[in-house]
Assembly symmetry: C2
Homo-oligomer: 215 residues x 2
């Protein structure tokens, strides 16, 4: 599938590289057409790069892997017309480090970043997922053994089905994928970041994830 990955950071590169390995036609989007990181990634992966608008225009599926603090402006740069009708998988977190560590989670309008993006781009089908774990685990869930969880939420059922299929192609098992319902579920998952950061600090350099365990 023609896929845009918006963002050239570690998360964006990890997802984009995985998508290329799965046979997708990936364009990495960045603010300028000559972004050095995007150009290098594209050269190394026989893939494309361009502006956020270039990437979104070429894509059937768009992934937001930018910092949540700038995601709204990134999507504005991508352009509503280039995003119309498309699934937008939002894996971002809005973390404000201006007050030091640990950062504060920014929750626009007391809701979530994902809902803010959906409101700004009502014709785009936003799905929130993968924002609760390290990027290495996103694309290789077997790094943590046994049962653990990736959350999915969104207002468009078909978009969630498409996203779930993508997660399955990354190796996530059906029992590991927890559907939290509509996009307001992002209010719950975006607030997991403080726990993730805390565990990252206390567990040290090991792979970990949260699991929802039921009786």
């Amino acid at each position: 599938m023609k896929t845009a990955v918006l963002g050239t950071g570690e998360v964006g590169r990890r997802l984009a590289t995985k998508l290329v390995s799965l046979g997708h036609e990936v364009t990495m989007g960045s603010r300028t057409p000559d972004n050095a990181t995007a150009a290098q990634w594209a050269a190394e992966n026989a893939a494309a790069h361009g502006t956020f608008a270039d990437a979104a225009a070429a894509a059937e599926l768009v992934i937001n892997a930018t910092s949540g603090l700038v995601s709204l402006s990134v999507l504005e740069a991508a352009g509503a017309a280039n995003l119309r009708g498309k699934v937008l998988i939002d894996v971002s977190n809005a973390l404000d480090f201006s007050g030091g560590f640990p950062p504060k989670v920014v929750t626009p309008d007391g809701g979530s970043l994902a809902e803010q993006l959906q409101k700004a781009f009502p014709d785009t089908r936003v799905v929130k997922t993968l924002n609760t774990m390290n990027n290495t685990l996103m694309v290789d869930p077997t790094r943590v053994p046994g049962h653990h969880t990736v959350f999915v939420c969104g207002n468009d059922e078909a978009a969630k089905t498409e996203t779930t299929a993508l997660l399955r192609s990354f190796g996530w098992l059906p029992a590991q994928i927890t559907d939290l319902g509509d996009l307001s579920g992002a209010r719950a998952t975006e607030l997991l970041m403080p726990l993730w950061l805390r565990l990252y600090g206390t567990l040290g350099p090991t792979d970990f994830n949260l699991a929802v365990v039921t009786a």
Copy 2:
């Protein structure tokens, strides 16, 4: 051990009843000396009840099972002198339902309720735990099979050790108890409530919990 349970709600009654069953000498504290719920609970469990101050004064260990929105005023009513040097296990969550459901988590001063209580009562040894699950699971972790997690954090190591021993007596296994370090870890666990509420809505009437799963 002489234990005060502050709060007469479902959480307080569940914890107090479990403590009685384990042989502790429990006083349930409430705002007035003649609280009907506390009186009935005490009669049914051959235990004591009284004001917050009565309960705290009589206790070696104090549990805050009040709504987080009123916990600070509850501890003020209990009195700093009655809390001095004692372990205070804070199981509360500050949920503001004034805007409807789901409620907002109130984070005093951008931190956590637990830290607010610790700051107001510097001579009391606050430990945050058990606030991330249903009260039935708090006192019977076997309701959810296999590996799942209770978080503990606090600034006083001896107080955490004492709290961990209490959790062990409730049935929690060492591998299920995750120490998040000092009391600022409560910033992480208090923000789990939106996910808990969301899962409660999507999973329906079943026991569940989160687990930290490591490689």
